[in-house]
C-alpha cells in the first residue's frame, strides 16, 4: 500500500525535488544536470504525445527540435528579434510540419512512418548545413546572449532551473490531460485499434494529425529553450538522428504509458550520461565512448525486464500490495 502512494505522489516528489535543487546545493554542475534532466524529459514527453499516446512512433523529432532551435538563433542573429518570438515562429513552423507528418501517418503505418520521419529530419539537416547564406552552414550559429526575460538571457542557472521546470510541468500537464480527457480516451482507442475507433464515431485521422502536430510544437519549444540555454546551434547535432532516437529512448525506457515516464527515463539516462562523460572524458582515459555502451545495456535491460518502462515497473510494484484484480469465473 505504501508503494502505491509512492507512485501516486511520484510526480510531486520529482518536480518538488527539482524545484528545491537551488536550496540544497549551489553546485553549478549539479544545477546544469537538473536543467538538462528537465528539458530532455519534457522533450521526451513531447515525443510521447505522438509516439506513446497516439502510437505514432517518430524517429525524426530532431527535425522539430532543430526548427525550434534554429528559429531562436536565426531570428536573434539576422533580425535581432527576442527569443520568445523565435520560439513562436519555430512552434508555428513545427506545427505546420507536424500537420503534414501527421497526415502522412494516415498513409504510412508503423516502420514506414518511422522512415518518413527520419527522412524529414535529414532533409532539414541538409538544408541547415548547406544553405550557408542563411544558416552559416555546418559552422553553426552562436545564439547571442542578451540579458533579460524577453531574450531568455538568464545569467544564473537557478533561473534556468525554473524555466525548464515550467516547461516540464506544461508537458507533464498535456500528457496528464491525454490520460484523463475525452480526447485522450479517444486517442487511446485509435492507438489500440483504428477501425474499431472509427466504427464508434471517432475521427481517427484528425486525432492522429492533431496529436502529431501538438507533439511537434512542444518539441520545437523544447528546442528553442535548449538553444537559448546552451547558446549555440549546430546543424549536425540539433537535426541528428541520434537526437531523435534519444527522445524516443528516454520515453520508452521511462514508460510511454505514464505522464511521468519520459521524465524518469530522462532522469536515468541524462544523469548516467552526464556522470559517465565526466568520469571518462578525455582521450587519455581511453573510455570516451563507454557511455554509449552503458546506454545500450540500459535499454536492453529495460526492454527485457520492464516492457512498460520504469513508470510501468513502479506501478506494478505499487499494485502488488493492493487487492488483486478480480477475475470472475465463467458466469455467462
Amino acid at each position: 500500500m505504501v508503494t502505491r502512494y509512492v507512485t501516486q505522489w511520484l510526480p510531486g516528489i520529482f518536480f518538488g525535488l527539482a524545484a528545491a535543487t537551488p536550496l540544497v546545493t549551489r553546485d553549478a554542475f549539479f544545477h546544469d544536470t537538473v536543467i538538462l534532466i528537465l528539458m530532455w524529459g519534457a522533450i521526451a514527453g513531447a515525443w510521447n504525445v505522438a509516439g506513446g499516446y497516439a502510437g505514432q512512433v517518430s524517429l525524426g523529432h530532431a527535425g522539430f527540435f532543430g526548427l525550434g532551435a534554429y528559429s531562436v538563433a536565426l531570428l536573434a542573429v539576422r533580425w535581432d528579434l527576442p527569443a520568445w518570438s523565435g520560439m513562436a515562429v519555430g512552434a508555428a513552423l513545427s506545427t505546420i510540419a507536424g500537420l503534414i507528418i501527421g497526415y502522412l501517418s494516415n498513409r504510412l503505418r508503423g516502420p514506414y512512418f518511422a522512415l518518413a520521419t527520419i527522412a524529414f529530419a535529414q532533409v532539414l539537416l541538409i538544408v541547415a548545413s548547406r544553405w550557408r547564406e542563411l544558416t552559416k552552414g555546418s559552422e553553426g550559429i552562436p545564439v547571442p546572449f542578451r540579458p533579460g526575460f524577453a531574450t531568455l538571457g538568464f545569467p544564473s542557472k537557478v533561473s534556468w532551473i525554473y524555466v525548464a521546470l515550467g516547461f516540464a510541468l506544461a508537458v507533464w500537464a498535456v500528457q496528464t490531460y491525454l490520460e484523463h480527457s475525452r480526447v485522450g480516451y479517444q486517442l487511446a482507442g485509435v492507438r489500440e485499434d483504428e477501425d474499431a475507433a472509427q466504427a464508434l464515431g471517432i475521427h481517427s485521422r484528425r486525432l492522429k494529425i492533431l496529436a502529431v502536430a501538438a507533439s511537434a510544437a512542444l518539441t520545437s519549444i523544447g528546442g528553442s529553450l535548449w538553444a537559448a540555454y546552451i547558446g549555440f546551434v549546430d546543424p549536425f547535432y540539433v537535426f541528428s538522428i541520434d537526437l531523435s532516437i534519444e527522445f524516443a529512448l528516454k520515453a520508452i525506457i521511462g514508460g510511454t504509458g505514464a505522464a511521468l515516464g519520459p521524465f524518469l527515463g530522462s532522469l536515468l539516462i541524462t544523469s548516467l550520461e552526464t556522470y559517465l562523460r565526466a568520469q571518462f572524458s578525455g582521450v587519455r582515459t581511453g573510455f570516451t565512448g563507454i557511455y554509449l555502451i552503458i546506454y545500450g545495456c540500459a535499454l536492453i535491460i529495460v526492454v527485457r525486464f520492464f516492457p512498460r518502462g520504469l513508470a510501468g515497473a513502479l506501478a506494478v510494484a505499487g499494485r502488488s500490495g493492493a487487492a488483486p484484480v478480480p477475475q470472475p469465473a465463467d458466469a455467462a
Binding site: 484523463h180 480527457s181 475525452r182 480516451y185 479517444q186 487511446a188 482507442g189 489500440e192 485499434d193 477501425d195 474499431a196 475507433a197 472509427q198 466504427a199 464508434l200 464515431g201 471517432i202 475521427h203 481517427s204 484484480v325 478480480p326 477475475q327 470472475p328 465463467d330 458466469a331 455467462a332
Partner: protein, 240 residues
Amino acid sequence: MLLELTAVTKRFGGLLAVREVNLQVQAGELVGIIGPNGAGKTTLFNVISGFLVPEAGEVRVDGRDITGVPSHGIARLGICRTFQIVKPFGNLTVLENVMIGALTPLRSVVDARDEARRVLVRCGLGPWQDVPAKSLPIGLRKRLEVARALATRPRLLLLDEVMAGLNATELKGMVGLIRDLHAGGLTVIVIEHIMAAIMRLCQRIVVLHHGEKIAEGPPDGVSRDPRVIDAYLGEELALT
C-alpha cells in the same frame, strides 16, 4: 424508412462481392442476414457502415443519402456496427473500452464512465469491468463488442456474427441480450452464418448468395425456399 439500400454493388477487382442488393429496414425491426461463406454479408455491413464505398447504388438513412460518408460520420448518425473478428482495445480495461464508445454521444468523462458501467451491467460484463480487454475469453469479447457499440447510443445496431464461436450457454445469453435490446426499441440487423439461432430470433430474414439477395421474408418461408436450400446444399449446417 430507417435504412434503405438501393441497387448497392461492391466489386473487388473481378469479384462482385455485393450485386445490386436492395434492402429496407424500418425502425424497430430485427432483421437477420444469412448466407454461406463469401456471400457478401460482411461486405454489405462494410458498405452500410462507411468502411467501403459502393461502386454503384445508394445507402439512405431517414431518406438522406449517406453513400460515401466516412465510417466515423455514419457512427455519429446513430448506426453502429460490431466486427466479426472482434477488435477490442486490448490494453485498455473493459470499462475503458465501453467508455470510449460512450464518449461519442457524451462530452464528459465522468458521465461516460457512469454510462459505461450501466451498459456493462446490461450486457452481463459488470464483474469484468477492470480487467484488460485482451484477457477476456472469446465469448466475452463478443459481448464487449456489443457493449461498446451500445454505448454510442445507436438507433441501428449492426451485429456481425456475434454468435459465432460461442458455446451453448453463451449463445443463449447472446440471443437473450439481442432480444432484450430489440424489445427496448432498438433496430437491429444481425449477420449470422449459423442459421438455427437467427431463425428463432428474427422476424425477417434476408438471404445472400454470391453477393446477390436470393430470398427475403419470414423465417418459415425462407427456410422452405428452394433457392435457399440449394445455396446451402452441401453445407454441414442444416436448416432447422
